[in-house]
C-alpha cells in the first residue's frame, strides 16, 4: 500500500476534512487519517448503519455533506487509523499508525493536525459510579446510536453542550429529570450580541430552549451537581446553588436519576502537537494548553500546521474555516508560496461566538471545591485528592514529580483525564494561578498499543549487533 504523500492530515472533523479537501483541490497529494471509520469528527459524527431509520439532525446532514464533498475530492481517506507517534526525520514527517491490520508508517512533506478536543470533568464525590457519563461523550453516543443514554437523565454542565445534549435526549424519547448548569441566565444574555451575529446558531439554540421549556424541563441555572448517590449504580444526585465563580453554596436538593451526563467544557487535544515538537502555552480563552498558530494555522515548525478545536476551542464553523486556510497554506508552502497567498475566508462573527461559548463553558475556580479529599482524581490508579495533596505537600511541585511519586496519570488513559486536575491541585497548593503548572512531556504511544501489533516483521537475524559494551 502507498505510504508517501505531499500532505498528511490528522483528524477528519470539520477542520481536518476542510483542510484536506482544499489542499487536494490545490493540487497536493493528500492523505486524511482518522481513528473513526468515517469522516465527520465529533460534531458531524456519522450515524451507525444499524440506526439509518432514525430521523436526521442538522448535524447528521452537515456531516453527510462533509463526507460527500470528501468523496468527490482527490483526498485519500483512511479511517480506523490511529496515530500513535509522530516524528520529523530531516524534512520528512513520519506518522506511525495503528490500523485494523497492524501498524503502518506513512511519510509526508507537510502535516496538518486537526485532532479536535476532549471533555473536562471536574472530579466530585461519586463521579466514578456507573451511570455517570461525560456530556460530550453522550453527544457522541447520541449521534452514532441515536438512543438516549438512560431512562431518567440529569444533564449537567456549562455552555451550549448541556442544552444541546438535553434537547437531543428529549428528541430521542429520553426522560430528562433536570438540567443543571453553573451558567446564569445573565451569562447567556451577555452572549446575546455574539449569538445574534450568528442567526442560524442562535435560532437552533432558541429552539432547544423552547423545546425544553415546552416539555416542562426544570432548568437549574447557577447550580452544580455536588455528589451522586448509589454504590453499584447511580440512584440520585445532589444539586446546589453556586457562586459566580462556581463554588457550591447552600443546601442541596436531591434528584432521583439513573443517568447523569456531566461536563465542564472542552480541552484542546494538544498532545500530538507537543509530540511533533511544538511548545505549549496556556490560554484560558482557547480552553487551556495549546500550541500557538498563525492565521493560516502555521506553527513555528515549517511544514507543520494546526487547526480546529485542537488550536483553541471555537466550534465547528470556525474549525472548518481554519481548516480551509491551513489546507491552502500547506499546499502553497509545498510550492514555495507564502501562506498569505491562500484562502482568507474568515468569519469574525463565528469566531466571536466561539470565543463567547468557550467563555461560558470554561471551568471557573470554584469548581475546585467539588473535589473533596476522598474524591478519586486519577481513576486508572485509584488516587484520591488527599493522596495527591500529601505528595504535593511533601515537595512534588510539578506534574512530572507528582506522576513519578504516585503513578497519577500512568494508567491506560495516559493522564488525559486526570492530569489537568492534578496540575490544578498543585497550583492551588502553591497559591498559583491556573495555567502556571505545565502538563507533562508527551510520550508515545498516544494510546495503549498492543504489543502484538508492533514489530510483526521482526527477524531475529536482523538484530543490529552493537559493539560489545566496554568490559
Amino acid at each position: 500500500m502507498r505510504s508517501s504523500w505531499d500532505i498528511a492530515v490528522l483528524g477528519a472533523g470539520p477542520a481536518g476534512g476542510a483542510a484536506a479537501r482544499i489542499a487536494a483541490d490545490d493540487g497536493a497529494d493528500v492523505l486524511l487519517l482518522d481513528e473513526q471509520r468515517r469522516p465527520g469528527g465529533q460534531v458531524w459524527r456519522v450515524k451507525s448503519a444499524a440506526r439509518h431509520f432514525a430521523s436526521d439532525s442538522p448535524e447528521t446532514r452537515a456531516g453527510d455533506a462533509h463526507r460527500a464533498a470528501l468523496e468527490q475530492s482527490k483526498v485519500t481517506f483512511r479511517g480506523e487509523t490511529r496515530l500513535w507517534h509522530i516524528e520529523r526525520k530531516k524534512d520528512i514527517w513520519v506518522l506511525h499508525v495503528l490500523t485494523l491490520s497492524g501498524t503502518a508508517i506513512y511519510n509526508a512533506r507537510a502535516v496538518i493536525l486537526a485532532p479536535g478536543a476532549r471533555e473536562f470533568v471536574q472530579p466530585f464525590p461519586g463521579w466514578t459510579v456507573p451511570g455517570v457519563f461525560g456530556l460530550a461523550g453522550v453527544t457522541a453516543l447520541i449521534k452514532s446510536q441515536q438512543i438516549p443514554p438512560g431512562r431518567r437523565c440529569v444533564v449537567a454542565g456549562s455552555g451550549p453542550l448541556a442544552i444541546y445534549a438535553a434537547a437531543e435526549i428529549l428528541r430521542l424519547g429520553g426522560e430528562i429529570a433536570a438540567i443543571v448548569t453553573p451558567n446564569s441566565r445573565a451569562d447567556w444574555l451577555w452572549c446575546l450580541p455574539a449569538l445574534l451575529a450568528n442567526p442560524f446558531l442562535a435560532k437552533r439554540g432558541a429552539e432547544w430552549i423552547a423545546q425544553l421549556k415546552r416539555a416542562g424541563m426544570p432548568i437549574f441555572w447557577r447550580h452544580l451537581v455536588t455528589r451522586t448517590k448509589g454504590n453499584e449504580v447511580l440512584s440520585a444526585l445532589h444539586v446546589s446553588r453556586c457562586t459566580s465563580e462556581w463554588a457550591p453554596t447552600g443546601a442541596a436538593t436531591e434528584i432521583p436519576a439513573d443517568t447523569l451526563c456531566i461536563g465542564n467544557g472542552l480541552l484542546p487535544n494538544s498532545e500530538i502537537a507537543a509530540l511533533a515538537g511544538l511548545e505549549l502555552h496556556y490560554d484560558a480563552d482557547c480552553g487551556g494548553w495549546i500550541a500557538p498558530v498563525g492565521p493560516h494555522g502555521q506553527t513555528v515548525i515549517p511544514g507543520l500546521y494546526l487547526c480546529g478545536d485542537g488550536a483553541g476551542i471555537r466550534g465547528a464553523t470556525v474549525a472548518s474555516e481554519q481548516g480551509e486556510r491551513a489546507g491552502m497554506a500547506a499546499a502553497r508552502w509545498l510550492k514555495g508560496a507564502p501562506a498569505s497567498s491562500g484562502s482568507q475566508r474568515r468569519s469574525h462573527r463565528a469566531e466571536w461566538l466561539g470565543l463567547a461559548m468557550t467563555g461560558l463553558s470554561r471551568p471557573r475556580r470554584g469548581l475546585d471545591s467539588l473535589t473533596t479529599p476522598e474524591t478519586i482524581v486519577c481513576r486508572c490508579e485509584n488516587l484520591t485528592r488527599a493522596t495527591l495533596e500529601a505528595e504535593i505537600d511533601a515537595g512534588a511541585a510539578s506534574v512530572e514529580a507528582l506522576k513519578s511519586a504516585t503513578r497519577c496519570g500512568m494508567g491506560p488513559c495516559g493522564g488525559r483525564y486526570c492530569l489537568t486536575s492534578a496540575a490544578r491541585l498543585i497550583e492551588m497548593r502553591q497559591g498559583a494561578a491556573p495555567g502556571t503548572v505545565s502538563p507533562p512531556t508527551t510520550r508515545p504511544p498516544l494510546f495503549p498499543l498492543p504489543v502484538a501489533a508492533i514489530g510483526t516483521e521482526f527477524d531475529y537475524d536482523d538484530l543490529p549487533i552493537p559493539a560489545p559494551a566496554p568490559l
Binding site: 511533601a394 513519578s404 500512568m410 510520550r443 504489543v451
Partner: protein, 366 residues
C-alpha cells in the same frame, strides 16, 4: 535569594543527592540547586536495573556495595532482589556471554551458567529458543520513579535545603569561593560540586574547564498491568534487552536503544525505528508479552566520557570545585559513589578509589 553555604551541589540527580547527604553527615552546610525537579533527569527515568551482570569489571566492587545500599533503602525505592538471567539465543551470543560473564565472576559477581531447562523451570514464559543463560542471585531492580520522592524526603530529614526550577546559569569566582547565578538569585559557596549528569559539559565550561562529556539517548518502555510473565530481571547477551515485571504487573523494557535529541534541547525523543525492534526483541524473548499493551515509551540522557569510566574527583585546575558523573550503571552505583565523593570532599580517604577527572582521554576509542 542571597545566601552562602559551605558547598553548593549543582544538579539534584542521584549523584548530587547522595553526595549532599554524606556532606551533611560531615557537618557541612550544603545547598542543592536543581534545574527542574529532583531526580527527573537520568536518575528518575532509567530502567532501574540493579544487575551485576551488566557492570564493568573495574566497577564491580562499587556495584556490589551499591546493591547493599539499595537493599537497605528497601520498599521506599521499590527495591526487589529477584535474581537475574541473561539470555543467549545462538552460538555467537553464547560465546560472548561465557567470555564476559566469566571475567565478571572473577571480579566478584556470583554469576553462574544455567541450562535452558533450568531457566525454564524458573521462568516458564521465556522462549525455548534460549541456548544458554547466565544467572546472578544478587540481581534485582528498584523503581527509578521513586528516586525523587525518596531523596526529597532524605534531604528534608537531613535539613539540607534544595531549590528546584533553579538552573545555574553562571558561575564566577568570589572573594571566598564561588558565586552562582540562578533564576532565583545568587548563591555564594566556598566550594561547589558539579553533578549535572549529561549537562556537565556546559557547567564545567563556565569555569573554563573542558570535560569531554557526551550523552546517549536511552529508550525505556512500559506495558500496562499484565498477568505475571516473568519473576526475575531478564537481560540479553548483547545488552540489547533488559526486562522486569513490577509487583503491579507492568513490564519495563529497556536495552539501550537510542532515541534522539540533545540535553540542551529538552528531554529527547523516542525513535519508532529503535523502539519497535526493542519491543519485538522483548516479545521474542517472552512470547506471552504479545498479550500486553504498551502504555508509554520515553528517553533519558546517560552521560559518559570516552573511556566510559566515572568522572569523580577534583575539577581540574579549579581549587574548591569537584565533579561527579558519567558513571556507567550510575543508578546502581550512585548511592555508593556519592558517599565516596562526600568523603573525599570532607578530606577523608574514600574506602575505594575515585576516578580522577584530570586523566587523559586522548586516543581513547569511544
Amino acid at each position: 535569594m542571597s545566601e552562602s553555604y559551605d558547598i553548593t551541589v549543582v544538579g539534584g540527580g542521584i549523584m548530587g543527592c547522595a553526595t549532599a547527604l554524606r556532606l551533611a553527615e560531615g557537618n557541612m552546610r550544603v545547598l542543592v540547586l536543581e534545574k527542574s525537579d529532583l531526580c527527573q533527569g537520568a536518575s528518575g527515568v532509567n530502567a532501574g536495573t540493579l544487575s551485576l551482570q551488566i557492570k564493568r569489571v573495574r566497577l564491580m566492587e562499587y556495584a556490589l556495595r551499591g546493591h547493599r545500599i539499595w537493599a537497605s533503602m528497601g520498599d521506599a525505592v521499590g527495591f526487589r532482589k529477584t535474581g537475574g538471567f541473561t539470555l543467549a539465543f545462538n552460538d555467537r551470543e553464547a560465546q560472548l556471554l561465557k567470555e564476559r560473564q566469566t571475567l565478571k565472576r572473577q571480579a566478584g559477581a556470583p554469576i553462574e551458567f544455567v541450562t535452558p531447562k533450568k531457566l525454564l523451570q524458573r521462568e516458564p514464559e521465556i522462549s525455548s529458543k534460549v541456548t544458554i543463560a547466565s544467572y546472578c542471585a544478587e540481581d534485582g531492580y528498584a523503581n527509578s520513579s521513586l528516586t525523587g520522592q525518596y531523596y526529597r524526603a532524605c534531604l528534608k530529614a537531613a535539613g539540607i535545603p534544595y531549590r528546584e526550577r533553579a538552573p545555574v546559569s553562571a558561575i564566577a569566582h568570589g572573594s571566598d569561593g564561588f558565586v552562582l547565578t540562578t533564576s532565583l538569585g545568587q548563591v555564594r559557596a566556598k566550594r561547589i560540586l558539579l553533578a549535572a549528569g549529561a549537562w556537565l559539559g556546559p557547567l564545567a565550561a563556565m569555569l573554563g574547564v573542558n570535560l569531554p562529556v557526551r550523552a546517549r539517548v536511552n529508550t525505556v518502555s512500559v506495558t500496562e498491568p499484565t498477568p505475571p510473565v516473568i519473576g526475575s530481571v531478564i537481560g540479553h547477551a548483547t545488552g540489547l534487552l533488559t526486562m522486569k515485571q513490577k509487583p503491579n504487573g507492568t513490564v519495563l523494557i529497556g536495552g539501550g536503544w537510542q532515541g534522539y535529541g540533545t540535553p540542551d534541547a529538552g528531554r529527547g525523543c523516542v525513535s519508532g525505528k529503535t523502539m519497535v525492534p526493542n519491543i519485538a526483541l522483548a516479545r521474542y524473548a517472552v512470547p506471552a508479552l504479545a498479550k500486553a499493551r504498551l502504555t508509554r515509551s520515553w528517553t533519558g540522557f546517560e552521560a559518559n566520557v570516552p573511556d566510559f569510566y566515572p568522572l569523580a574527583g577534583d575539577l581540574p585546575g579549579v581549587y574548591g570545585a569537584y565533579v561527579l558523573g558519567c558513571v556507567r550503571g550510575g543508578f546502581t552505583i550512585g548511592p555508593y559513589i556519592g558517599k565516596l565523593m562526600g568523603d573525599h570532599i570532607l578530606g577523608q580517604e574514600p574506602e575505594l578509589p575515585l576516578f580522577d577527572p584530570d586523566r587523559s582521554f586522548e586516543g581513547v576509542p569511544g
